[in-house]
Amino acid sequence: MLCGALISAVLVASAASPYPLLGHPAPDFALHAVAGGNVRLSEHGGDVVVLSFWGSRCGQCRMQLDALQRSFKTYHSAGLQVFGVDVDDDQTGALDYARTQALGFPLLLDPQKAVARAYLVDNLPMTILIDRAGSVRQVHRDFSSKFEPAFLQQLRVLLNE
């Protein structure tokens, strides 16, 4: 019982702890894209970048990618760039998803999870907003019905900067 209480206390503490990268420069990376070619984060300086870490077996992740697709279509011309970062060991699921869904933004592959480690990903889906200057500004560690309005509000603030 004591052990259970300790574990729950640790989980609550980790959920409540602020994201350590907030306000810091976003770690640069280069990853293979599902559609071919490579993507380097530092080449998108001046854009508002959204990184969405996801896995093919996570149902909420797909819902979140759909929501991001809507935002991307609306705000891409205003300087929004979205990258879905797949963290599966087996990339078949991600390749299938990319084939079936006509996403406008690139899906990147991170099988070695080097980028996920750099961004301290502890939950899926996890969405990170990076401002035009390349600093991490917002993080969403979950997806729910409340995600989209809050996300859009934060996104508009960053796009207006």
Partner: protein, 239 residues
């Protein structure tokens, strides 16, 4: 491929001197501008006095006289206003030039500090640098380069389309810089990408090189071999 060779003795005082120049310029820019203050003081009396407009009807002649005086004063002030505006524009231009100069100094200082940092981290007697260059690139679309020195992986670099374009235009990319002791070493480079007919292509190239006292530069050259319609990978040892 150029290498800026500064000695550590000359770089430290230069960097400090530039820092002082930057600080001094910053202080000058932050300090209040004497001519601007003088102009604002000269322009201030132009505004009409509220006493003239708020005067009672009985005192109308007096008010008229005051208004006439004020108009005369305004005319006096307006005469030198044009030269003042010209001098203000000149001041703004001068300030802009100062800012540009300051920016240039900051960039120069940053460059010097970068060179100094590199010389401290990678001294010439142990430095090894590997560069990638590409000639034409019709038969090979570069995706990544990985390097092994003495059977240890030291670099793995993914090239974006923009970087490949820069290489095709004659750019040279430093893919690795590190330290090695003097003696014999082996470098193995793996190139992956798309070869002829858009097929996945992976090739390796090896070189055994001798590290001496000075810095060692190696160039990974990707050339098109027209006769065989194939890319060619070559490692050049720059003495």
């Amino acid at each position: 491929m150029t290498h800026v060779a500064h000695s550590r003795r000359t770089l430290v005082p230069r960097a400090v001197a530039r820092g002082l120049v930057v600080l001094a310029l910053g202080a000058l820019l932050l300090a209040p501008h004497p001519t601007a203050w003088a102009q604002s003081a000269a322009v201030a009396p132009v505004t009409p006095t509220p006493a003239a407009s708020a005067a009672p009807p009985k005192a109308a002649p007096a008010a008229k006289a005051q208004a006439a005086d004020a108009a005369a004063e305004a005319a006096e002030v307006a005469a030198p206003a044009a030269p003042a505006a010209a001098s203000s524009a000149a001041d703004t231009r001068g300030l802009d030039q100062d800012i540009q100069g300051l920016k240039k100094d900051v960039v120069d200082l940053n460059r010097d500090l970068f060179v100094l940092e590199e010389e401290l981290l990678f001294p010439a007697n142990t430095q090894v640098a590997v560069f990638v260059s590409m000639d034409v690139g019709d038969f090979f679309l570069l995706d990544s380069v990985s390097l092994k020195i003495d059977q240890k992986e030291v670099a793995n670099y993914l090239y974006t389309p923009r970087e490949v374009e820069a290489l095709n235009k004659g750019g040279v990319h430093r893919v690795y810089i590190g330290n090695l002791k003097a003696g014999a070493h082996e470098l193995v480079a793996f190139f992956s990408g798309q070869g002829p007919h858009e097929r996945d292509y992976r090739r390796g190239a090896t070189i055994k090189f001798q590290k001496g006292i000075g810095a060692k530069y190696l160039e990974l050259k990707i050339n098109d071999r027209q006769r065989r319609q194939q890319p060619e990978f070559e490692i050049k040892d720059w003495e």
